[in-house]
């Protein structure tokens, strides 16, 4: 088990940032999702020991966050969202320095720095000053410094920001490979849902400091709702009202397709009954594959 949280509370003064967060994550890649201000970054910072929770217990890789913080930090790699580096250093010295700070012997750290810089695609520019790197290169460098000491768990905060589409795809493949075949778990915080969908098998969704959903993406899709796409002929205002009253969420796309999100225990025939009551023709009815974006919108309750 990589992360285990029990009833974590944290406040910034009077503002409650996390309110009783509890979940257990297994090995593998996990996406951490939620709207802005939901508490994702606060949670990451608590897991790294930067912030002390007001209440609750946390274990990372089996170690207690309160008493074994140093051990946890040895085994964890962190890729921050901010552009952060040490000016005046070349990439290989910087990465080796980070390895050394993690507890690697100096020469081993230098050797390993070369390896990981090649791995993230900075092999040829590893002797360049990091100050001269482009935003995308700095992003790769941040990943390299997180990997240099061969962590068991990676915390990645917006790992694909500042990357062009090709670079983004490469980084995603790399993170996916590390998480699946290299036995390194990852907690990936990103606002790009497609990224999370492509590399994570489980997801934690936070909303207003509370857990909105947690589990395997596939399972959550099944548990939370079903999505149907409809084409209707006639006046649909009352039809939409009745479906909403029955607990469904209804959206209309630009090409006049109705997306109906129904609760998991909702009888889909009720949609036809409602249409019949309103004297409407259902011209298309398709059970649709829902995206992570739909899931997030559903559990968080935002459009």
């Amino acid at each position: 088990m990589s992360i285990e949280l029990k009833n974590i509370h944290f406040s910034y003064g009077k503002v409650k940032a996390l309110n009783g967060i509890s979940f257990t994550l297994k090995e593998g890649a996990t996406g951490l999702l939620g709207p802005n201000g939901a508490g994702k970054t606060t949670l990451l910072k608590i897991l790294l020991g930067f912030l002390k929770p007001d209440e609750g217990e946390a274990r990372v890789l089996g170690y207690d966050l309160k008493t074994e913080k140093k051990l946890i930090r040895q085994l964890v790699g962190y890729m921050p969202e901010d552009e952060c580096f040490i000016p005046g250093m070349d990439a290989v010295s910087f990465t080796a320095y980070m390895g050394e700070l993690s507890g690697m012997p100096r020469q081993e750290a230098m050797k390993r720095a070369h390896e990981v810089l090649f791995y993230v695609g900075l092999g040829e520019s590893r002797y360049r000053l990091v100050d001269t790197y482009s935003a995308g290169m700095k992003q790769r460098l941040k990943l390299a410094q997180a990997l240099v000491h061969d962590p068991k768990l990676l915390f990645l905060d917006e790992p694909t920001s500042n990357l062009d589409p090709a670079g983004r795809q490469e980084i995603l493949e790399l993170i996916g490979e590390i998480a699946t075949s290299k036995n390194i778990s990852g907690l990936i915080c990103s606002h790009i849902l497609a990224d999370i969908e492509s590399i994570c098998d489980q997801v934690v969704i936070i909303n207003k400091g509370e857990i909105a959903a947690v589990g395997r993406i596939e399972d959550l899709r099944m548990i939370n709702y079903r999505l149907y796409e409809l084409k209707i002929k006639g006046e649909i205002d009352n039809f939409k009202k009745e479906l909403k009253a029955a607990g469904c969420r209804v959206e209309e796309t630009e090409d006049r397709i109705l997306k109906v999100y129904t609760p998991s225990d909702f009888d889909h025939l009720e949609i036809f009954r409602t249409a019949a009551r309103n004297r409407l023709q259902v011209r298309q009815f398709v059970r649709s594959q829902s995206s992570l974006e739909d899931l997030l919108a559903k559990v968080v309750g935002v459009d």
Binding site: L51, R73, C84, G88, G103, V120, G121, E124
Partner: protein, 290 residues
């Protein structure tokens, strides 16, 4: 950029160790980075000019007969005694060179980490706040020590070598301790001074300017208050005057200011203590606004 995964990902087979001196890589990197700055090496080498001049002074003092033609009447000024060592360790030139070197190589120690958000990279690793502060302090201690403790001890050794006996050492057995403890005091004070100012800004240029400004303004404040109150206690405002007063106590010399030396010691010690508290408050893995 090369193609990603050119070399493939391999697990590292080594063992992560818990270092006894976790701060050492930070200190070593800080020293190396200081030497990489332009003009630093030149300034650093220039800082040893007084030490060379003092060594020549010791040589001449031991060979006064040979240098009679050029050192007439210099017997008094070339007397090598505790005052000689005290004068070396309180030279304006030495203090200024320390400030210059620290403006170039020490101003960015914490300021740069704030500016480039590198603090979180340190604290995401098994590094405590104390390790971080000690690591940065080590850089200042290294340079101040090289400019004070090392030359002063070498001058003492040179004196013993040129005199060819241990008479001087037996005459002033406490001198070596004075040199060590006063140099340590200087190291602690300048470390607190530089790190405090470095933690107050994100811009190394402002910090460099502050290093000189605070030092000089403290002396100007002494001048102004002295003019107004005509009191020797006005020297308590000045960093230089306080260091001189404490040095006189360490080397058992006549006090330059007419007030108890421990007041200066207290002023500087309180400054160091407050600096540590401020630095510890400022250095955090994450900024928390509560």
């Amino acid at each position: 950029m090369t193609t990603i995964r050119e070399e493939g990902y391999h697990h590292w087979g080594g063992q992560l160790a818990e270092r006894r001196w976790t701060f050492w890589p930070i200190t070593r990197t800080g020293i190396r980075q200081a030497f990489q700055r332009r003009r630093f090496k030149f300034l650093f080498a220039s800082s040893f000019l007084p030490a060379v001049a003092y060594a020549v002074g010791i040589y001449i003092s031991e060979r006064l007969e040979d240098f009679k033609f050029m050192a007439q009447g210099a017997e008094k000024t070339l007397q090598v005694n505790p005052g000689f060592f005290k004068s070396y360790l309180t030279l304006d030139f030495i203090f200024f060179m320390i400030l210059f070197l620290m403006a170039l190589g020490g101003a960015g120690l914490i300021a740069d980490d704030f500016r480039y958000k590198a603090v979180q990279l340190y604290f995401a690793r098994p590094i405590t706040r104390l390790d971080y502060i000690l690591g940065k302090a080590g850089v200042v201690v290294f340079f101040v020590g090289l400019l004070t403790l090392v030359p002063a001890v070498l001058l003492l050794v040179i004196k013993l070598l040129f005199s060819g006996s241990f008479k001087f050492f037996l005459h002033y057995p406490w001198l070596i301790l004075s040199i060590i403890f006063y140099s340590l005091f200087l190291m602690i004070f300048f470390t607190a001074f530089v790190l405090l100012l470095s933690s107050l800004s994100r811009n190394r240029d402002y910090v460099a300017a502050l290093i000189f400004a605070v030092y000089l303004l403290s002396d100007i404040a002494r001048g102004i208050t002295s003019l107004i109150f005509h009191s020797p206690y006005s020297a308590l405002f000045s960093i230089k005057a306080n260091l001189n007063q404490v040095a006189a106590a360490f080397f058992l010399q006549k006090f330059p200011y007419d007030y108890p030396w421990y007041l200066s010691f207290l002023v500087l010690s309180i400054f160091c203590l407050l600096s540590y508290v401020v630095i510890k408050q400022k250095v955090r893995g994450v900024e928390v606004i509560r």
